[in-house]
Symmetry: C2
């Protein structure tokens, strides 16, 4: 575990030199707390890295972002919720490009150093007139991270934000992040949008590597509905304001930064799962003793994503056969006679044999806001954790009337 | 299309020489129409083939059945619902074997020619005392197929049965089948249990090939919840009573039989999807113009299985972006600019561009018991169909309190 402290009320603008804004620009139905357009800005040009969706269908901002990140330098992100700017033909790329140009002009930076991001309904063109007006009137501030965290929400019930401070070779370094999730959430990437900032000085290639490793163990291990979005985007920007000696692979402090970044991403991943559409419980699946990391991850994610496991958790139903059935179809090597299974503190199966239990006690053990499903495969040394949420009637209600 | 006629009230005992029974033996909570133990019997020893689950965790009857089918000869099936006889340690195989011995003794056949099958809750031992009594008191009859179809039901709301007659080289041949589905339904196999019979004379290797081909295009293209059961079993028995010249690969009439068998399996597949847990609508996904059959099948199944597509269908929500997003993550090659998409008769996307539509008309087009999602990829000649059902609050209700 990396040593770090959580910054009270921390957010994506907690690291030095980052400002942000989030406003209501009319892209969604109005609500007191609603925001739908946002800006994230670094006073210095940043080393940057980004990861995008693995979906063959890609939002226009993903296509543009994949080009822009080639330069490994970014200074701003402009983002909207309400429309995904996806499946709208060539207009999509025209509009995403204009978004970055509008932001660049306002901020006095190069458009090539701006990334755009969109989330919302697919197949609807961006209302560019509203976005032009909106970018114009946004006011950046040091507290703007909180508003930006709201501006990226769709069916999320609350913003997800965190900032942590740690010491690297005598210098205090801060890492901040915000994310949104809720629906169409499955790796890779497991989040629609996640923006990370740090005032550490970091070489871009190491930054990319550290981001990939952190995301693989966190956001890519979240599943709400097994549906991978065409818009998923994670961006990290490092502006060097902390004054530390530049971090690169193998440098002193590189491991500390890597671990702290992973911890921050795990926190955001857990928050996304906890706030999955219609969720009443967080499900955490830990698989230990797998033959390989790939096996451990596949097993954990398959259990976490099973509709039958998710409904059983919702109903406090200790129907653990569903967990074993999901393990069996995960593609991971499993040996029934070696499996030990816990649901919270209660053991359901021990080395392949069902454990007699008092059903009411098991039901009670499941009637909690967090359910920890722990699987011991006893085949090797690899382990992994996946995050999900229960599947409730409310999930169906939310998703059966999303656009109508 | 093969030429055949549907037999009124046809079932698995419609082919000559097959008898069956289904009774209530006390394995499930009592209900007027409830059956939980059944027998299927052929007066002659049959050429036989079977396919089993791809889940790494296998029910005891699957392990036993995989051994028994090596001999390519069967004369009876004994089956129970209520307990899956899965994940109960070594007792599972002991009990499955005893079930076949009880049936063999009653019927005066070899236990090696009997297959057992179980479906229900995982992790609970079979109540063998009830099964011993039950096998004893079953009475076989020509109409018993209808009772047997009930005996394999779990959360199914009605039995699935069909028999068809066709002519092969001047001889009338009958094929009958029953199946159960409802929950934990996803290839491979897409059905928990399916029993097929025919009075045609067929060489066992060709029978296996014909079964595999039929199941790949039908039962393996059904998904209710993306959860593959450890117990899935399809068995076909051919007793030769029709007196046709023995069918083998390339023989006259082999194609006709193959096609008719596939049609029968498609009917059962569609019935399983229509009766998925909590379903109010059948979803049929046709993918055309894919580069390969594997691509077409992956694309169709991924769309059919998407929780977001299924909830949108439930709510008559023409949120077609979810269909495109599912296509994009299916693993099939897709080119956004080439995709044309219909939901029933209404075109949502034409060669990559959204088609403006009157939303109320689209909502109305979706307010029907069958939704046909038709995707034209325009990349090749391969096509495939998948079947699913909508995802309703009722699904959650059913599955959140299954064992409690």
């Amino acid at each position: 575990m990396a040593e770090y402290r959580v910054i009270p009320e921390g957010t994506v603008t907690s690291p030095k030199g980052f400002l942000a804004a989030g406003i209501y620009a009319g892209l969604k139905v109005f609500g007191e707390e609603k925001r739908d357009l946002g800006l994230l800005f670094s006073e210095e040009l940043c080393d940057a890295a980004a990861l995008f969706t693995s979906n063959e269908i890609k939002g226009a901002h993903v296509v543009l972002g994949q080009q822009r990140i080639q330069g490994k330098k970014l200074q701003a992100v402009v983002v909207n919720s309400g429309s995904a700017n996806t499946c709208v033909g060539e207009q999509g790329l025209v509009d995403a490009t204009e978004m970055t140009e509008l932001a660049a002009k306002k901020l006095g930076v190069l458009a090539g150093h701006v990334i755009a991001a969109s989330t919302g309904v697919i197949g609807v063109e961006l209302p560019m007139a509203l976005i032009r007006q909106g970018v114009e009137k946004m006011e950046l501030s040091k507290e703007g991270g909180h508003e930006l965290a709201r501006a990226i929400m769709t069916t999320d019930t609350h913003p997800k934000e965190l900032a942590i401070a740690l010491e690297i070779e005598g210098k205090e370094v801060t890492i901040g992040g915000i994310a949104k999730g809720s629906g169409m959430i499955h790796p890779n990437m497991a989040t629609l949008l996640c923006f990370l900032t740090t005032d550490a000085s970091i070489e871009a290639d190491f930054l990319h590597e550290a981001l990939k490793e952190a995301v693989d163990a966190s956001l890519n291990m979240v599943t709400v509905d097994s549906d991978t979005s065409p818009n998923d985007t994670v961006v990290i920007m490092a502006n060097g304001r902390a004054g530390n000696e530049r971090l690169k692979k193998g440098a002193l402090g590189a491991d500390i930064f890597q671990e702290a970044l992973a911890e921050l991403c795990i926190h955001l991943a857990e928050e996304i799962a906890r706030d999955g559409e219609g969720a009443s419980k967080l499900i955490k699946v830990g698989v230990e003793g797998a033959e390989s990391l790939a096996d451990a991850r596949a097993a954990a994610l398959t259990v976490a994503g099973s509709a039958l496991v998710k409904t059983a958790v919702y109903g406090n139903d200790p129907n653990w056969g569903r967990i074993i059935a999901a393990l069996g179809r995960s593609g991971a090597r499993v040996d029934e006679s070696q499996i030990t299974l816990y649901i919270n503190e209660f053991c359901a199966m021990d080395k392949g044999l069902p454990v007699s239990f008092y059903k009411e006690a098991a039901v009670q053990a499941m009637n909690r806001p967090e359910i920890y499903i722990r699987v011991l495969l006893h085949l090797g040394d690899a382990s992994a954790t996946a995050w999900s949420c229960d599947l409730s009637q409310e999930y169906v209600t939310i998703n059966s009337a999303y656009t109508t």
